[in-house]
């Protein structure tokens, strides 16, 4: 257990982008928010319009309050979602290099000189992508959201309005716990992509990207072409494209929400992310087939890790 934690710490030492990517993304949003607010104030002042119509909701009693607080909850989700784009990019390329980069620079010979099993190595890297990267992103986006709330409260205060009732009416803790709950479910969902990318990362003697990405694309095109000329192809109920996108894009956090009754048009965003609804994905065969496929690919990656050290570089 201790070894596994240390192995995951090593991944963090090597890849500080786990932290910096969400920091850059959320800071960019905060800075844009600040700039927009300032420019709105300046333009409104020049035109002589009494500022504050966007804050109107705060003036209209409880209905307006509910809308405003729902806006806060939505912002919390949006901050998390924005860092997710970063999570996707970081995880994807992290996994693709996870069992290849150290073979290319031959540092694998150093790691292999220590009493660590290939299983532990592969497990630490898979868990890093499944849990560590999204956890960092959630923590950072939560901090950014707190800064955002402070900004809004301050802004409303400048116009003699108090946003505090709306803050009190929002559900930051419930939202956070729902987002937190999405982490382990999301981790299960990512498994096929984690397995797929790590498999090719362990397999490739050069250019793992080619194998992992171009191979499926060529397969899809070939399949479509076979379909077109009426040859034998994969079609019907099981969509070939759906399987391949599951293998390639499942590390997109929340990508699985389509498989639930998730709907942003709900009246309250906090209800949308209700554990009962989110958890429904645990009953879908799609999730569990992916878990099985992912674990099989990871087992193959462990096997390859024990045998393949040379690269072509």
């Amino acid at each position: 257990m201790n070894t596994l934690l240390l192995l995951m710490k090593r991944e963090y030492w090597e890849h500080r982008s786990f932290v910096w990517t969400p920091v850059w993304i959320t800071s960019a949003i905060l800075i844009l928010t600040l700039l927009t607010t300032i420019s709105a104030e300046i333009f409104a002042g020049r035109a002589g319009i009494p500022m504050g119509f966007t804050l109107d909701a705060l003036r209209y009693g409880s209905a307006g309050l509910a809308e405003f607080s729902n806006g806060f909850d939505l912002s919390q989700l949006m901050f998390a979602a924005a860092s997710c784009i970063g999570v996707f990019a970081v995880s994807f390329f992290y996994l693709l290099g996870s069992l290849y980069d150290d073979r290319r620079d031959r540092s694998v010979l150093f790691w292999k000189s220590l009493p660590i099993s290939d299983t532990a190595t592969v497990a630490s890297k898979a868990l890093t992508a499944m849990l560590v990267i999204p956890s960092f992103a959630l923590a950072i986006s939560t901090l950014a959201y707190i800064a955002f709330v402070a900004l809004i409260v301050l802004w409303a205060g400048m116009h003699g309005l108090s946003a505090l009732p709306a803050v009190a009416d929002a559900h930051p803790l419930a939202m956070f716990s729902h987002l937190l709950l999405m982490l382990p479910i999301g981790a299960l969902w990512t498994l096929p992509t984690v397995g797929w990318l790590m498999f090719w990362s362990a397999y490739a003697r050069s250019k793992p990207f080619m194998w992992a990405v171009l191979l499926p694309i060529i397969a899809v095109i070939a399949n479509a072409w076979l379909h077109l000329i009426g040859g034998p192809h994969i079609g019907g109920d099981v969509s070939f494209v759906a399987i391949l996108s599951r293998l390639l894009f499942s590390v997109m956090p929340g990508g699985w929400l389509n498989a639930t009754s998730f709907d942003l048009h709900d009246r309250h965003i906090v209800d949308t992310l209700d554990p009962g609804r989110i958890g429904a994905v645990l009953g879908s065969p799609n999730l569990w087939l992916g878990v099985v496929a992912g674990l099989a690919l990871l087992a193959a990656a462990v096997w390859l890790r024990g045998r393949r050290i040379e690269t072509n570089v």
Partner: protein
């Protein structure tokens, strides 16, 4: 598998092919505890493959036991007792010195952080430095400090001083001898700079085209091989004794003999102990032809 006590490496009939080339061709070898074994061979002779087999880093056929374990199936357990340095370029460039120490402390049950820090205190290496900021020589010092702080029974060195200047090379082997080696440890080393390690070796193994062509202790080598400096008038008589090699120097000939009686050689001229390098050149004649 029955392995005699004190046998560190026990290999029988090891074979490994890369496509059509035989990297290991029926290699059988025993290495005893407390020895420093030089594994010497031309480029592509199979040295690195042999070491990789011992370290569980490659597949092969045949029977091999290292410290009583099969490296193919027990690499993690084996690595608690075996260390290796595979040339200076293998420490990850992003790693900081203190991270390296923390990591090895955590994963290696026989690593002593204090020892490692004591070794590093004698160098210019600082804990906050990254490997990419270190010179080649400093990387070798760091790797050696990490390895010497591990209480291992077998140390495998594959060209550990490649690309280092002579000061670092001398210091490297000196620390190994004075601070690390004792009768409970065994060292296997490959290098092309034979003359620099000759004096520290206790055993010599020559490998050529995947085959072991010589495996002997240095004492045996000294008894078996002799060099004779022969005047031109006796050269014909010397050639009749089937020398391994003949070279010219200052108008005289130097002949290298294998297993010829000392008394007969002494009649021909001045006797010398051949250097490992000369022995190597004579043995490997025609390798690249």
């Amino acid at each position: 598998m029955s392995t005699p006590m004190g046998t560190i490496v026990h290999a029988r009939n090891l074979c490994k092919n890369y496509n059509t080339t035989k990297a290991l061709d029926a290699v059988s070898l025993d290495i005893q505890a407390g020895r420093i074994v030089g594994l010497i061979g031309p480029n592509g002779a199979g040295k690195t493959t042999a070491l990789k087999a011992i370290l569980g880093l490659t597949d092969f056929t045949g029977e091999l036991s290292v410290l009583g374990l099969d490296p193919r199936t027990h690499r993690p357990r084996l690595m608690e007792q075996v260390c290796f340095i595979a040339d200076v370029a293998v420490l990850p460039r992003w790693l900081r010195v203190r991270e390296a120490i923390e990591f090895v402390t955590g994963v290696h049950p026989r690593f002593s952080r204090e020892k490692c820090q004591a070794f590093l205190a004698r160098t210019k290496i600082e804990p906050h430095m990254r490997v990419r900021e270190l010179s080649k020589g400093m990387i070798a010092q760091l790797h050696l400090a990490l390895v010497m702080a591990i209480d291992a029974r077998l140390l495998v060195l594959d060209e550990p001083t490649l690309g280092l200047d002579i000061l670092y090379r001398k210091a490297f082997y000196e620390s190994l001898l004075t601070d690390y080696f004792d009768e409970n440890r065994t060292i296997i080393v490959t290098t092309h700079q034979v003359e620099e390690i000759e004096h520290i070796l206790t055993d010599l193994v020559f490998i050529r085209d995947g085959k072991i062509v010589l495996a002997a202790t240095m004492d045996e080598v000294g008894e078996r091989y002799a060099e004779v400096l022969v005047n031109p008038d006796r050269a014909q008589a010397a050639r009749a004794l089937n020398p391994l090699n003949e070279r010219q120097i200052f108008g005289k000939s130097i002949f290298l003999f294998d297993g010829v009686e000392r008394a007969r050689l002494a009649e021909l001229g001045e006797l010398h102990k051949p250097s490992v390098a000369d022995l190597f050149v004579a043995t490997m004649k025609g390798t690249y032809a």
